[in-house]
């Protein structure tokens, strides 16, 4: 299995703080890779660095074999990376439709793709012409994900999509992500919810203090409870 995304020795500073201290991992094509870790471990920083929103001081990031660590954010996006940030970052002053129109960079919205999206996010159809700012948190999350998949992307970076959502919505979100997976998408997914991680992940990475401390198959980690406890602490157990 070839790696679509590869990070080697990535170091990121935010101001004077040394946040990523040499991050190495690969995201195999066509699979979902989970990025787990405690609060403040550096997961969001990793995604932002890949996206070019923070500058990587050293190390290299390659997408489909080409280096991208020196590219600007728009260039990285145009190479086919979709990003769903932790804050969702929907444009609240714009309508749902306008949010998606902007996300569809290559022209008008595609009906078939929209129908597919509405299939698992009916709320977006319902509120098509409402201001995104008036959506509920879960609906905003759906919109944010919809923006990333409204056109086919090589790689999706998704940051904690289940954060703060009700269990029922988490379930439907998991279904949706599985559906996206089935279409052959490659996903790097940050998740605190171990249940969701187990459902979705093929591969797993665990981060702590700005480095990767574990990498392997999700199934293996899911089966090895002592290892989970050692890596992630008990807080994640509670989610099971």
């Amino acid at each position: 299995m070839s790696a679509l995304l590869k990070l080697t020795g990535v170091e990121t500073y935010i101001g004077r703080y040394h946040i990523l201290q040499g991050v190495d991992f690969e995201v195999p094509e066509g699979q979902t890779t989970m990025l787990l870790g405690r609060n403040g471990a550096g997961k969001t920083t990793t995604l932002r660095t890949i996206m070019g929103l923070w500058e990587a001081k050293s190390g290299s990031i390659s997408l489909a074999g080409e280096p991208i660590e020196k590219l600007s954010t728009p260039d990285i996006a145009q190479r086919g990376v979709g990003y769903v940030p932790e804050s969702m970052a929907v444009f609240s002053d714009l309508t749902v439709k306008e949010n998606l129109v902007l996300a569809a960079r290559n022209g008008p919205l595609d009906d078939a793709q929209l129908a597919w999206i509405f299939g698992f996010f009916p709320a977006l159809k319902k509120f098509w012409l409402s201001r995104a700012g008036s959506l509920s948190g879960g609906q905003k999350q759906m919109l944010s994900i919809a923006r990333a998949i409204v056109e086919p992307r090589k790689l999706l970076l998704i940051d904690e999509p289940t954060k703060g959502l009700a269990p029922a919505i988490v379930m439907s979100l998991i279904e949706c992500l599985k559906e996206i997976k089935r279409r052959g998408a490659t996903i790097l997914l940050v998740e605190q919810n171990f249940h969701a991680a187990r459902e979705l992940g093929d591969q797993v990475l665990v981060m702590d203090n700005g480095t990767i401390v574990h990498r392997g198959e999700m199934a293996a980690l899911a089966a090895d409870v002592p290892l989970q406890e050692r890596l992630l602490g008990l807080s994640l157990e509670a989610h099971q």
């Binding site: 929103l53 970052a89 609240s92 960079r105």
Partner: protein, 336 residues
């Protein structure tokens, strides 16, 4: 794409209309204070006309700030340059401007305005590249650099055009007033009002109906996400900066004609007004800027009529009052 029908729209969020009513209420409150109805009409039209001119000057500044967090303290320079450049056309062709035919007047006025906008737009390009881009993201340096730019622009104007006041007479066809009963409405003010409205509507249309407009609105709210969607926001910003500079130039021409004279200090004088407008309106909001401009002009005109000595101070009071009510301005757009 087929039109998708919203099956069940959310209850429409209440439109925030309180700020929209503010100028109206203020104008009505002034009727008894001003006393004579004809003075009131004159003052109100004057306020609206002046408000439109200030709006034209301020609109670019508010978008530039909203979009890129750039504080341009040199915005006033574009106003001054715009006014001076227009004199380059208007003075040599003074005989056309004073001819007794609206067409001939316009034949000199329109090119003058277009030239001013062209020059200030180009100047905007230079300023953005030389003064703003190198210190992008650093407020302190931005303020210092653009303040420096303002000084340089102003002094260059002095050096090129001399320190004296340059007269800039109104074209013949725009002099005088329409008389309705005992109310006189100056033609030029009416024209200014019209131009301001047209520009306001045009900006609103662009912002709401075009993809570029959507990008600007989205960028004002969250520019990182616009970039993460694959758009080069810097280029967009440059476009907005140049447009804003050109509009400031147009505003300068209109202001020069309104005062019928030009002086390099026009930039300083209007910078303060424009800042107050942008603050009152809420950084990044065109609607807020529009209302703010009218409010500032009303306070200046009614205030100037009722308590002449306190014209500028009354603007400060207005600003304080508005910010006490809404600390982020009438319409806060940015989430930053």
């Amino acid at each position: 794409m087929s039109e998708i029908v919203a099956t069940d729209a959310l209850p429409k969020p209440k439109r925030d209309i309180a700020p929209l009513l503010l100028p109206l209420v203020l104008a009505l409150l002034m009727i008894p204070l001003v006393g004579s109805p004809s003075s009131w009409v004159t003052l109100t039209v004057a306020s609206l006309a002046m408000g439109m001119m200030i709006f034209i000057m301020a609109s670019g500044l508010t978008l530039v700030f909203g979009l890129m967090d750039v504080l341009n303290f040199g915005h006033g320079a574009f106003i001054a340059v715009g006014a001076y450049v227009a004199t380059l056309v208007l003075l040599p062709l003074a005989s056309w401007a004073q001819a007794d035919s609206l067409l001939i007047n316009l034949a000199v006025l329109v090119p003058a305005a277009l030239l001013s906008m062209g020059v200030t737009g180009a100047l905007g390009l230079v300023v953005e590249r030389v003064l703003v881009l190198p210190v992008y993201g650093q407020h302190l340096k931005q303020i210092l650099m653009t303040t420096g730019g303002l000084i340089v622009a102003e002094q260059t104007l002095y050096a090129l055009f001399g320190p004296q006041i340059i007269p800039m007479p109104l074209p013949a066809a725009l002099r005088g007033s329409f008389i309705l009963g005992d109310v006189a409405i100056s033609k030029y003010r009416l024209l200014a009002l019209l131009i301001g409205l047209v520009i306001f509507v045009a900006i609103e249309l662009v912002l709401n109906r075009t993809k570029i407009g959507l990008l600007i609105r989205a960028g004002v709210e969250n520019r990182e996400m616009v970039e993460a969607l694959g758009y080069r926001i810097r280029r967009l910003f440059l476009g907005v900066f140049m447009t804003g500079s050109a509009l400031a130039g147009l505003g300068g021409v209109m202001w020069g004609l309104y005062r019928e004279q030009v002086h390099a200090s026009i930039g300083d004088e209007l910078t303060v007004l424009v800042f107050i407008v942008v603050i009152i309106g809420g950084l990044g909001s065109i609607t807020g800027c529009f209302i703010g401009a009218i409010l500032v002009a009303m306070v200046a005109n009614y205030g100037g009529f009722l308590v002449p000595k306190l014209a500028l101070v009354s603007n400060i009071l207005l600003m304080v009052a508005v910010l006490m009510w809404r600390p982020r301005g009438l319409y806060a757009v940015t989430s930053r």
